[in-house]
């Protein structure tokens, strides 16, 4: 599969006006404004192949939306190069816009007072979609996203979940090769989130549409994106399959042992005791591929073991631990 998105050492620096305190500061700021550079994205490189689904994850202010804006041609990189479908998006914004679909979770492209179907018709003209193809795509979207019951309702009367489904459908009517989604599940309830996630995963698998989505919600990534790009403070922290994240961040499995009677101090090679209370003991286990049985076999013979369990750390926990460590 060919590369369709490339970012090479991309940085984006904004000049932010410095606010000086007090009246004299206000006047000085008015006469001679001072600016400070803010580095929203720093030296980020990655490449995405056609048909991939990639989650772009990071806390608020990590530079996620800035990167999406550079990929869609709304922002020019300060240094470095971005290529989408062989073009530099800023230079060829209109040509780029014809081949991509974009959904901003917090900004709708639908016409507020008009029925959803009217916005779809407008999209047909904006993207110059052939009528037959439009009819086919529209029918498919209506069926897959269950839009039928509210197609004729004005957008202002829709629930957030319905509106998001309609927005996603509209972004796909022209059959874009890439779909960018910025926080597509933000504010949705559990059921609506589930519908959106299942749909995106399906569209990626069945149509081969490349998906890049930014999110706070790790479950979005677990269900849609086999690959994760994680950023923080403008920098790339991790790029790879979700399952490698734990190892890459040095996250350890947790072994919990439950005994009939207090066994006293217990030592297991390659496992660090992290807690003990009464008849329970907890350990952090090195990532050396040992199974639960291997670990239990390492216990001294005759230890009164009642139960044992080995916990994989959740992705959320891994990331939370990482961010907390960074802030500390």
């Amino acid at each position: 599969m060919s590369l369709i998105i490339q970012a090479d050492s991309v940085s984006k620096i904004f000049q932010q006006r410095k606010r000086l305190p007090g009246l004299s500061g206000t006047l000085r700021g008015l006469l001679k404004p001072e600016t400070v550079p803010v580095r929203a994205v720093e030296e980020i490189s990655f490449a995405i192949r056609a048909g991939e689904a990639v989650g772009y994850l990071g806390p608020n202010g990590a530079g996620k939306s800035t990167m999406i804006k550079m990929l869609t041609g709304i922002l020019a990189p300060s240094t470095g190069k971005v290529h989408v479908l062989g073009r530099q998006p800023v230079e060829e914004r209109v040509a780029n816009a014809r081949e991509i679909g974009v959904v901003f979770g917090q900004r709708s492209q639908l016409w507020w007072d008009l029925p959803v179907s009217d916005s779809f018709d407008l999209a047909r003209h904006i993207y110059r979609i052939d009528p037959a193809r439009f009819a086919e795509n529209r029918a498919e979207m209506v069926e897959m996203l269950a839009l039928g019951s509210f197609l004729d309702r004005p957008v202002r009367q829709l629930s957030l979940g319905q509106r998001m489904r309609a927005d996603i459908a509209m972004a796909l009517l022209h059959g874009p090769k890439i779909l960018f989604l910025d926080e597509p599940t933000i504010g949705l309830d559990v059921v609506a989130k589930d519908v959106v996630r299942k749909f995106l995963a399906r569209i990626n698998r069945q149509r081969g549409t490349t998906i890049i989505l930014t999110t706070h919600d790790l479950q979005d990534i677990e269900e849609i994106c086999p690959r994760l790009i994680m950023v923080d403070d403008g920098r790339l922290l991790f790029d790879g399959p979700l399952r490698s994240l734990r190892r890459s961040f040095g996250a350890r499995r947790r072994l919990r042992l439950d005994f009939y009677t207090d066994p006293g101090p217990i030592w297991i090679g390659g496992a660090r005791p992290v807690g003990s209370s009464g008849t329970q003991r907890e350990f952090e286990v090195d990532e050396d591929g040992r199974s639960l049985i291997d670990l239990i076999s390492a216990l001294p013979p005759g230890t009164p073991l009642r139960d044992a369990s080995l916990h994989e750390p959740g992705i959320e926990e891994v990331i939370r631990t990482h961010y907390q460590r960074r802030r500390a």
Partner: protein
Amino acid sequence: MSLFALSPLAARLTGSDLLATLRTFSAFTRAAARQQAEQRSELLAIAFGTMVDVFARISIWRSVYHGRQHVAGVTEAEMITYALIGATLLSHWDGALIVREIGKAILSGQIGATLMRPVSFPGALFAEQLGPRLLQFGFVCLPVITILSAVYGIAPPASLGHGLLFLVYIVVSTTLLFLIAIFFGLLSFWVLEAHSLEWFMRGLTALLSGGLVPLWFFPPVLGTVAHALPFAWITYHPMACYLGQNDLLESATLLVGGCGWVAALAIVNHLLWRSASRHVTAHGG
């Protein structure tokens, strides 16, 4: 003669491209008209407001004339016609609202979503404004003209030729008003305070278009300057044509002058928009 045909961007388009572009814009116009039609109470309020506005203008002019046959060579009947048609078909549209729209789009960041559509932003904006404008021609301006002309009377066009030219003048007037609004709107990319620009434009237009007071009442120097500025083609020159203040040849020549302003402003706006979009892509709006 339209903005699209004159824009340098359009010059690079092929025939079928141009047709597709026009089709896109007309889809915008239709959607915007439908959106306006949804807001019936707003349309009613606009109709009522326009009626009061035109009634006030006519009353002022009637008290100015008060028994006199002519003021500055213009009869009372002509002046009432000027107020009636000028305030409905020509300077009825508050173009400064576009400035507010652009300012809002920049501050809220919506401008980003707009840039993501493969259409020209100023073109789509014009098409969107044109929808409600056309609807208002039919549902506000014509009823107001019909009702008030039944009460106060209305002068017909000076001749058939003047009447036909006047129809073209309406197109030029609407296009120029839009181009001027876009010009001020685009400035808000740098000023970031669209309010002041909106008021500045509204003030300039009210004064220099002859919308409130025809230019023939202006002091000579200001009158001469105002005659040449593009604002004059919004209300004054079209009405001067309608009332036969100039002969046909002169009216036609002035119309060409108005088209010249359309072309010049379309080019200026195109360059300004290019520079504005570069500003957005560099600074994030």
